[in-house]
């Protein structure tokens, strides 16, 4: 379980996340929704401390992952990032082949001794995101030549391959056609047995279809959070009602 307590994030003097308190349940799909620029990506990037690479960032508050504060200075950031994988909003293949992209994480984390196991892991995850058949015979070619939608799925496969506990997916289906998006959605649903999934989405219908838990953000603040059923059908806050109404009308 991830508990965010009184988190404040400033970037270059701008107050981006304001007193955020969120609980993200385990083995469920949590959808973070909210208008563009409200701080969804920033929140995800804080959860695995990728935000450290941003310039001029100041963090306050606590993020407890299984009771451990990951914002404290003695947290093992490298290990944390392996356990909490982030699929970022813009797909970014590493400058290597498709195979190596997926194998990269397994290699640096020394997950397998035998090459056969590595190959299996790569194939399994490429299949899971529905990419394997599309790129058959091209697996050794540079990943940068894939289409954006394919790159997005590759990045997802790459994150899955290191077998994290949590998957943070930032608009993982934004560049996908409805059918590929459905593949990824189904994948997430099947993954929630083993993983905890936190995804940002702009497609409320998608959230409606697969979310167990929903967090609604607005201008850097958490407006409402709770089980999907309640937030979608019985929102307590007026802002949430308006946002949902606007999106569904």
């Amino acid at each position: 379980m991830i508990e965010v307590k009184e988190l404040n994030v400033h970037i270059k003097g701008n107050h981006i996340l304001k007193n955020v308190n969120v609980t993200l349940p385990e083995k469920q799909i949590t959808c973070i929704i909210g208008p563009s620029g409200c701080g969804k990506s920033t929140l995800l990037r804080t959860l695995n401390r990728l935000i450290d690479t941003t310039e001029g960032v100041k963090l306050e508050g606590k993020v407890l992952v299984n009771g451990q504060d990951i914002l404290s200075s003695d947290a093992d950031v490298t290990d944390l990032r392996r356990k909490i994988g982030l699929v970022s909003q813009r797909p970014c293949p590493l400058p290597m082949s498709i195979f190596d992209n997926v194998a990269y994480g397994c290699r640096i984390n020394k997950m397998f001794n035998k090459r056969r196991q590595l190959v299996y892991q790569v194939q399994k995850n490429l299949k899971a995101v529905g990419l394997y058949d599309e790129i058959r015979g091209r697996i050794r070619t540079p990943a940068a030549r894939l289409s954006i939608g394919q790159q997005q799925r590759l990045c997802l496969a790459r994150s899955l391959a290191v077998e994290p506990d949590y998957i943070l997916a930032d608009e993982a289906t934004s560049a996908l056609d409805p059918i590929s998006a459905k593949t990824v959605e189904d994948l997430f649903v099947s993954l929630k047995e083993q993983y905890s999934i936190i995804m940002v989405t702009h497609t409320l219908r998608q959230a409606l279809r697969i979310a167990d838990h929903v967090v609604f953000m607005y201008l850097g603040e958490i407006i409402e959070q709770g089980p999907a059923e309640q937030v979608f059908h019985n929102p307590k806050e007026e802002l949430t009602q308006k946002y949902l109404a606007g999106a569904f009308s």
């Binding site: 990728l50 690479t53 392996r82 970022s88 400058p95 290597m96 030549r145």
Partner: protein, 267 residues
Amino acid sequence: MWIAMLIVFGFVISVIWTVFSKGMKAMSWDMISKLPGGGFYIGKEGGFLNAIVGSLYIVGASTVLGLIISIPVVFFLNVYLKRDSKLAYTARMAFDVLFGVPSIVYGAFGFTIMIYFGLRTSLLGGIIVITLLIIPIFIRTMDEATRNFPGDILDASFSLGATRWETLRVVLRQIAPGIATATLLSIGRAIGDAASVMFTAGYTDSIPTSLSQPAATLPLAVFFQLQSPIPEVVDRAYAAALVLTVIVLILSISSRFITNRFSKNKI
């Protein structure tokens, strides 16, 4: 348009043909393995090993020095200064200007400095001037390769649990072709430039044994020996031109090759 193309192609081919036909006739093992006997200008014996070795010394040392100086500058421009600061902009413009300065000006500049320090024409002088000459090329080409570096790659690598060291290797992989191209381009310019080494490295018949001795270079081997009234010496000039042309051709073809091969990784 076609006529212009034909003129250009015809020109290129005739240059290469002249160099090759005259150079091949004069070429022999002695040419590249022996020092000139009896003075480079009048002696009929020997080859131009002095120029080959001199050029290698100068180009090798300047390339290493140039890299050592340019890499931190590129790093400073791209990481420390952040893309679009005023200082970075000014620095880039300055390097563009330096890039365009004719090499004779570098030669004159180096010469002035050497006089100021009381140095005579020497290997060291040549190395310094050639280093100055290629630094702008290094910086501009590497800067180009680094500037377009997608910062997202860092995020992607870190997100998979990579350490800084592992991530640095990915970064190097991304910019390595840029560095390689920069190096080859710089070597190409450094080895073929006559004007800048004329006053600074000088010319001799022997291979320099210390930094303070003058050094011969390939372009000057062509320049000086071509003026000689003695046919054997003129032959040496053509053979030197051939060696120079072949080296430059190899360099530019391999830089093309590297760019093509690795740009597949990016696009």
